[in-house]
């Protein structure tokens, strides 16, 4: 059931991950690997451990045991500051609900990760606007999140996740709150944008139509993972 040793050239790999929250076992020997430019769907029923796997891979939650290597480096050997820096500059995140800052305009939201990294406001907003054009929401630049639709807000969130040029994009149910048509468009734009920058996408979803935008899928069941491409 567990994934075998990671293939050569992987950007992010995990082996034998274990994580428990009190008596509840979330991960029980899970493995994972992804190459640059690859879109991998992480599928499984609710409570199977797929979101915990994503949080561990992204360095948000430390596993109890097991190995996670990013660009050849063991993440457990990094200190908090290094992991934070990694999340700010190398990783991008999109969640089910865009989690945009309601007080900021859309362009300010998209520019926020660059501003946190020290980029000037002018430069950050120029780059942000470029990404908003790619995600077809540049006309919303001056609006606040409360003034845009769910689908538009999610595209703004995708633009924000890509603005720093991340090498890995973590997307946790990115279309979960959208209707079919909006969800589809978000997936098209998200995967097109990621592929054009050679970013790897870890796509957690329970929806087959969303997973169909991936190159391959990993199934998580009872905290264990199965790489379907390498299993057949």
């Amino acid at each position: 059931m567990n994934a075998p040793a990671a293939p050569a050239g992987s950007l992010l790999t995990a082996e034998d991950l274990r994580k428990a929250y009190g008596p509840t076992v979330a991960l029980d020997g899970a493995g994972f690997s992804i190459h640059p430019g690859e879109v991998v769907a992480v599928m499984g029923p609710s409570g199977s451990g797929k979101s915990t796997l994503l949080h561990c891979l992204a360095g948000i939650v430390p596993p109890d045991s097991g190995s996670i290597r990013y660009a050849g480096r063991e993440m457990a050997t990094m200190n908090d500051a290094e992991r934070s820096s990694l999340r700010r500059s190398e990783f991008g995140f999109v969640f089910q609900f865009g989690q945009l800052v309601p007080e900021l305009t859309c362009v300010e939201n998209v520019a926020l990760p660059l501003r946190l990294n020290g980029t000037s406001r002018k430069e950050a907003e120029k780059t942000a606007l470029g990404w908003m054009q790619r995600l077809e929401v540049d006309d919303l630049a001056k609006k606040r999140p409360g003034e845009v639709s769910g689908g538009q807000g999610q595209r703004v969130a995708v633009a924000r996740s890509l603005v720093t040029g991340p090498r890995v994009l973590f997307a946790d149910e990115p279309t979960g709150a959208l209707d079919s048509l909006n969800g589809e468009r978000v997936m098209e734009l998200l995967t097109d944008a990621a592929r054009s920058t050679n970013a790897a996408v870890v796509l957690v979803t329970h929806e087959a139509r969303v997973a169909a935008y991936s190159d391959r899928e990993i199934v998580v069941r009872d905290g264990r993972s199965r790489d379907m491409e390498r299993a057949v």
Binding site: E188, H206, A208, A211, A212, S214, E217, V219, M228
Partner: protein, 188 residues
């Protein structure tokens, strides 16, 4: 009481009666009559097998070396052959269970049969569902790609197929979630 009658056996009868009978033989040798009874009980509530189908299938399996005659009972009536599965037969069932079905409409009856047989023969039914999910996703990726590069007519045609495949997948997920319960039911 668990009822099987909601699942029509037409697909089973058409496609996999041999494999189904072989799977039933894995738990031990049986006479043709016992095989028919076990089949009807597990899979053929509303469409029982005819004796002729059982015996013609067993003749074919015998000829192909997938079963052997384990004993013959002579009684007042005709001789009763008892059949046993051979190693080749076990391999054949194994391969059939492990091979995902080509995604198509009304696939559930065949998948249902595979899942029940896997549980009856103590194989990993979750693996069968995982492999099938993967096969479906392969088809869905092709359709999604075609849709992205096609015109509106392509998009609508592909959407129709995608929604049907998605319905299959929902059934797969629900069945995966119910495997423990199903295992108890089929063991009765």
């Amino acid at each position: 009481m668990y009822t099987h009658c909601v699942y029509t056996v037409c697909r089973v009868l058409g496609m996999s009666i041999g494999h189904t009978l072989l799977g039933l033989l894995e738990s031990g040798p049986r006479h043709g009559y016992d095989l028919k009874r076990a089949f009807d009980e597990k899979f053929g509530h509303d469409r029982p097998l005819h004796y002729g189908q059982v015996y013609s299938t067993m003749s074919r399996l015998l000829k192909n070396g997938l079963v052997e005659v384990d004993g013959i009972e002579a009684g007042g009536g005709p001789e009763r052959k008892r059949y046993a599965i051979t190693d080749a037969g076990i391999t054949d069932v194994e391969q059939w269970l492990a091979t995902p079905e080509k995604p198509a409409e009304y696939l559930q009856s065949t998948l249902y049969t595979k899942v029940v047989l896997a549980l009856l023969t103590h194989r990993d039914a979750g693996d069968i569902l995982d492999n099938q999910r993967s096969e479906h996703l392969r088809s869905m990726r092709i359709l999604t790609d075609r849709k992205r590069h096609g015109d509106l007519a392509d998009q609508l045609v592909c959407d129709h197929a995608l929604f049907h495949l998605e319905a299959d997948l929902r059934w797969l997920e629900l069945t995966a979630a119910r495997l423990d319960k199903l295992r108890v039911e089929v063991a009765r």
